[in-house]
């Protein structure tokens, strides 16, 4: 820690703070130091703060009032994100990193935009793959793939999070999820909505990058796999899109995004969440030839923090917040329509069983 490093304050000190952000910050000690950690559970706040020699509190206002806190990172559960982003803007912080999703409605997102414009606070959302050097390299080399791609695929085979959290750190607390009856249409719809807004949301901004007509969303079908996940076939403008994820204990995690056209195609394989395993690898194929970008030495978590430092120091242009709002409204629309489709399909299947 030197006076020249940027002071970080953390709201919410669960597994994401412990396994993602603190290990990332440990790679960037020449840029940042953690000043204060806040969690509603004082024991968690104290123990996590103790790991990095920071002060702790159970009070949001106390953290925001701390002048040494220049950058705020919001890692509380999603329902608190919007109000905490607004409060951090109002507290005059230099930059904010909010874990995804940064709001749960368009109205909330617009409120954030208004306040951020007023206070001139740069905000980024922790959609780490948008900062992954593999993705950025692909973006620099894909030529006209935005126009020529016709088929977009976004597929995740997700291992249990603790497997990777435990590689990344020693986690102090872990939430428990109650089991629910997925034959209940509302439960099924809730699982899909949660899956899209909690997991798919990571790379829906990447999908949207290939869908200029992203407001024209039609869900063709939605399937709820076992034990959880989603498989959604969509038409987005002229693009044929499939977004899928399955939770599995199998030993082959997968996290890929593909954009495919007649004569060129991009495939990106991301490294697993939580661990510092380097960047994604992007392959642009044109028939029998391919260009490979990455893996680079650091991943999107480090990428987002590096960008945050540039924002706080005024050496990078802030992101256009309307793009973040578009990312959110696109995700909300996919989530709403997919949940409605699975609710209907589950109810129809129940009726068939009754008949």
């Amino acid at each position: 820690m030197t006076p020249s490093t940027l002071g970080v304050g953390i709201l919410g000190a669960g597994p994401v703070t412990q396994a993602i952000h603190l290990p990332t910050l440990a790679r960037l000690t020449d840029v940042f130091h953690v000043v204060r950690v806040m969690d509603v559970d004082p024991a968690v706040a104290e123990s996590v703060a103790g790991r990095v020699g920071a002060a702790w509190t159970a009070d949001v206002d106390e953290l925001l009032a701390d002048e040494e806190v220049q950058i705020v990172v919001i890692c509380s559960p999603h329902q608190f994100h919007a109000e905490q982003v607004v409060a951090a803007c109002r507290a005059g912080k230099r930059a904010i990193l909010c874990e995804k999703p940064f709001a749960m409605s368009k109205a909330q997102a617009e409120e954030i935009a208004t306040v951020a414009a007023e206070t001139r606070t740069p905000i980024i959302v922790g959609a780490m793959h948008t900062f992954d050097p593999g993705w950025l390299a692909a973006k620099a080399h894909w030529d006209d793939l935005i126009t020529t791609s016709h088929t977009i695929r976004y597929s995740i085979v997700l291992p249990p999070n603790p497997r990777f959290e435990d590689f990344a750190t020693e986690v102090a607390t872990r939430p428990q999820w109650p089991a629910a009856d997925r034959n209940d249409p509302d439960v099924a719809a809730g699982m899909i909505y949660g899956g899209i807004m909690g997991l798919a949301i990571h790379d829906l901004p990447l999908v949207r990058a290939f869908c200029p007509d992203f407001t024209d969303v039609e869900v063709l079908s939605c399937t709820l796999p076992y034990p959880a996940g989603y498989l959604v076939n969509l038409r987005v403008g002229q693009k044929d899109v499939q977004v899928s994820a399955v939770n599995s204990h199998s030993w082959e995690p997968e996290w890929t995004v593909e954009a495919i056209g007649d004569s060129s195609a991009l495939r990106i394989d991301f490294s697993p969440s939580y661990v510092q395993a380097g960047s994604a690898t992007a392959v642009i194929r044109r028939g029998w030839e391919s260009e490979v970008y990455g893996p680079y030495a650091y991943n999107g978590y480090e990428g987002e923090w590096r960008f945050l430092a540039e924002l706080a120091r005024g050496t990078a242009e802030p992101l256009d917040i309307t793009e973040l709002i578009h990312d959110l409204t696109f995700a909300l629309e996919v989530a709403d329509k997919s949940a409605a489709a699975v609710r209907e399909a589950t109810a129809a299947a129940n009726e068939k069983v009754m008949a």
Partner: protein
């Protein structure tokens, strides 16, 4: 000693199905023959069924059809001559080697994904039949099929198996990717993944079975699908068996007709 059978093939069957290469790779079992050859290789164009009937009437003891187009096969039903349908992917040795791993995981909680990357301008009907044949061979026949979308770039469809397993079927028409098919089953605790390249070469398919304990790559075999198809026909003829290709094909053709009707009605 292996019984050596003679083979004749039309030139389009030869070029589509690389029959000359398959024979060259099975010199003890097969040998080029003339009009009265034991086995006949046919291209799978529109009139392949009548060509097969003619070959059988003329005395052929076995018939192999390369990449058959949808057709009514009733005329072949009563025949005692084996007919092997050499679709794009089914005879890749990796497919046959994947069967036990797939079938052990085929139940109502399974999600099966199958995807075909094929060149722009491919005959969609044939691709679909090859895709259904792949699922049928590796796991079980698809019993219900409906299309979410089907256009000049490919399709997304959903199906179910008798077990209740759900299947997502996709085809993507592109010249950017190597032609290939992939099939995977994902379960809460484990998964099986099969990739099958185009049959034009002996590039191997791969099967990976993975669970919480790790992932295992099954034995890799550099044998072309066409060679396996011809070996199969040889075995069926010499052991006086019929094989199940025609029955399976008939089932799939009926399913596709139903699916297409549902699609156009939607």
């Amino acid at each position: 000693m292996t019984a050596r059978l003679t083979v004749s093939a039309s030139s389009d069957a030869d070029s589509e199905g690389r029959i000359g290469q398959a024979l060259a790779a099975l010199p003890m079992s097969l040998h080029p023959g003339g009009e009265d050859a034991d086995l006949v290789g046919l291209a799978g164009g529109t009139d392949w069924v009548s060509a097969a009937v003619r070959a059988i009437d003329a005395g052929a003891r076995g018939v192999l059809v390369v990449d058959p187009t949808p057709a009514e096969v009733r005329a072949l039903r009563g025949s005692t001559v084996p007919v092997v349908l050499d679709g794009r992917w089914t005879y890749n040795p990796a497919v046959l080697d994947s069967v036990s791993a797939f079938t052990a995981r085929n139940d109502a909680e399974s999600l099966i994904e199958v995807r075909a990357d094929v060149p722009v301008g491919s005959d969609l009907d044939r691709v679909l039949l090859s895709q259904l044949a792949l699922i049928r061979t590796a796991i079980a026949p698809v019993v219900e099929l409906s299309f979410d979308r089907c256009n000049s770039r490919g399709w997304d469809a959903r199906g179910t198996l008798e077990s209740g397993a759900r299947v997502a079927l996709a085809a993507i028409l592109t010249d950017a990717l190597e032609p290939a098919a992939s099939l995977r089953i994902i379960k809460p605790d484990d998964a099986v993944r099969l990739t099958v390249p185009d049959p034009a070469t002996a590039r191997p398919g791969h099967v990976v079975v993975s669970s919480a304990g790790g992932a295992t790559l099954l034995v890799t075999k550099w044998e072309s699908a066409h060679r396996v198809a011809w070996r199969t026909l040889h075995r069926l003829v010499t052991s006086e068996q019929l094989g199940t290709d025609l029955l399976g094909f008939e089932h799939d053709v009926e399913l596709v007709r139903g699916g297409r009707t549902a699609l156009s009605a939607a």
